[in-house]
């Protein structure tokens, strides 16, 4: 039922905004219609024309909202401007959706004037068709917080004077980069290894993959869109193997690879291979290519590290940042030995962006262990464990300390 509804949300919202303008009010109305459908359809059955039903109910809500608004403000009644709900023309259920609406909505929700968490919340609601409550559960924040984020996002979009149409040609690439960032943020929120109580989070992965797939369908020739979809699939493929029954993290090198999802790997590899041979190189494609090299190794020791090193160096060139450098150091260590890897880490020790977190120390500890410097490795793992702000990561690092003690 939720899947049916989710796919309809952008079509209904697009139709409403085209008709009545005011993205803000229409989005609220569609959300109410979706909630009504989630309650009514399981009891009364899915209507013959689900889109028409949703448009009718949402329009009614919109009219009601405008009525109470105008009454409140004691202004002239403007509802006459709205077509009566029953006369709304709704496309038949089997009519193809307006794919442009989904794209336009994605660009609108991922507006650069909005903060990333608000972009994500609004995208999940307006394009993904998730309810505020579902989004709140997935992000582990109170429902009121999500409501505020969405309201704030819509105010900002309105203030920025954005209209319901695709960004101009000259801005498309930059705006698309923001959309991809938001989709990746949603995916990452869901992917961070879950423990016990957080069973709701995979919903975010499903949603991120679904929306990226939709975007790929609309922009099949864009290498970065394809790259992001491949990256998600190739990462998600490893999920069944990356945590133990107790929620503990299992590093890539120790995962039971027979538990990886073959279908996702095959699809991801096919997507990234196609993109790399036809589109200009980009950061998502390179990350997907690295994930593909890992996923294609039957055993950890079969991993083609020289290939991974080449890819990380390319990535560092077009996207220089300390996290990429940390990963490059691991690849260097796997190809040229731990001391060479440690030398790559050296300049990062003074970089506040990584030196304050736990990752630099975790990688350094790992390389020191490889180099046989067990005392230094243990101390560094301990420092990394204390720096970690995630319980499973801290526990993983504590186990490494224990192993070396």
């Amino acid at each position: 039922m939720n899947d049916v509804l989710a796919g309809l949300a952008p079509r209904v919202l697009g139709a409403l905004v085209r008709r009545h303008g005011s993205f803000d009010a229409c989005e609220d109305a569609v959300q109410e219609a979706l909630v009504a459908a989630a309650v009514q359809w399981p009891q009364e059955g899915v209507p013959d024309n689900p889109v028409g039903w949703l448009i009718r109910v949402a329009t009614r809500r919109l009219v009601d909202a405008r009525r109470s608004e105008t009454a409140r403000q004691q202004r002239e009644v403007t509802v006459a401007a709205l077509t009566p709900a029953d006369q709304m023309h709704a496309p038949p259920a089997d009519a193809p959706g307006s794919p442009d609406d989904t794209l336009t909505l994605l660009f609108l929700c991922c507006h650069p004037a909005v903060s990333p968490l608000s972009q994500a919340a609004l995208t999940l609601r307006a394009v993904g068709g998730l309810t505020t409550a579902q989004i709140a559960r997935a992000f582990l924040v109170p429902e009121a917080t999500v409501s505020r984020r969405i309201t704030r996002a819509k105010q900002r979009i309105k203030a920025a004077g954005s209209e319901f149409r695709l960004p101009p040609e000259g801005e498309l690439e930059d705006r698309l980069a923001v959309v991809l960032q938001v989709l990746y943020l949603i995916f990452n929120e869901g992917y961070a290894a879950t423990t016990g109580a957080e069973l709701n989070r995979p919903e975010l992965i499903t949603e991120a993959v679904r929306l990226t797939r939709e975007l790929h369908r609309l922009l099949p020739g864009n290498g970065e869109v394809t790259g992001l979809l491949a990256l998600m699939l190739l990462t998600e493929a490893r999920r069944p193997a990356r945590s133990g029954p107790d929620g503990s993290l299992i590093p890539l090198g120790e995962q039971d690879r027979s538990r990886w999802n073959r279908d996702y790997i095959d699809e991801g590899v096919k997507l990234i291979t196609g993109a790399l041979s036809s589109a200009p190189l980009g950061v998502y494609q390179l990350q997907a290519a690295i994930a593909a090299v890992h996923d294609e190794a039957a055993r950890a020791e079969d991993t083609d590290w020289p290939q991974i090193l080449v890819l990380y160096r390319l990535l560092a060139r077009i996207w220089p940042n300390p996290v990429v450098q940390l990963n490059e150091a691991i690849a260097v260590a796997m190809v040229h030995g731990p001391h060479a890897g440690l030398a790559v880490l050296e300049p990062l020790v003074d970089d506040a962006r990584v030196a304050d977190g736990h990752r630099l120390h975790a990688v350094r500890a790992h390389l020191l262990e490889m180099a046989g410097e067990h005392d230094a490795a243990r101390d560094t793992y301990e420092l990394a464990a204390r720096r970690a702000t995630s319980l499973p990561e801290r526990r993983y690092l504590e186990r490494r300390v224990a192993r070396l003690s």
Partner: protein, 130 residues
């Protein structure tokens, strides 16, 4: 990223540190506009960053379970673990984009003008494989 801003108080202070008005009490200033902490809370709620804000009652009300001898188990005593020193007066839980933003929020708390405000990252329950 989620942070807790821990607000400290000192036992000599009369006004609750969470409700200071730029370092002075509401009674001192003689104005009826809401104290700045309330407008800050309102702003953080609007931006979707505020998760929780809790002020703790005066430490005079504190009771503490303490175990001195494992055989006796925990014993309830009057007062705080720390006697006479600073005490925790309350906390704010925020979900914001970066540590820098959490510090910025802390800086704007009226209490930061006179008392210590600790910025502590919350230990998350999800993590990445390494």
């Amino acid at each position: 990223m989620r942070f807790v801003l821990v607000v400290y108080g000192d036992p000599g202070a009369w006004v609750h540190p969470m409700f200071l008005r730029g370092g002075r009490s509401a009674a001192d200033s003689g104005e009826d506009r809401p104290p700045p902490v309330e407008s800050l809370l309102h702003e953080l709620a609007e931006s979707g960053e505020l998760i929780d804000a809790t002020a703790l009652a005066d430490p005079i009300n504190t009771t503490t379970l303490q175990t001195k001898d494992a055989a006796d188990g925990p014993q309830l005593v009057e007062g705080s673990v720390e006697s006479g020193g600073r005490y925790v007066a309350g906390f704010f839980v925020v979900d914001c984009e970066s540590h820098a933003r959490a510090v910025e929020i802390g800086r704007r708390l009226p209490v930061a003008g006179s008392q210590a405000v600790e910025i502590r990252p919350v230990l998350g329950l999800s993590g990445w494989e390494m």
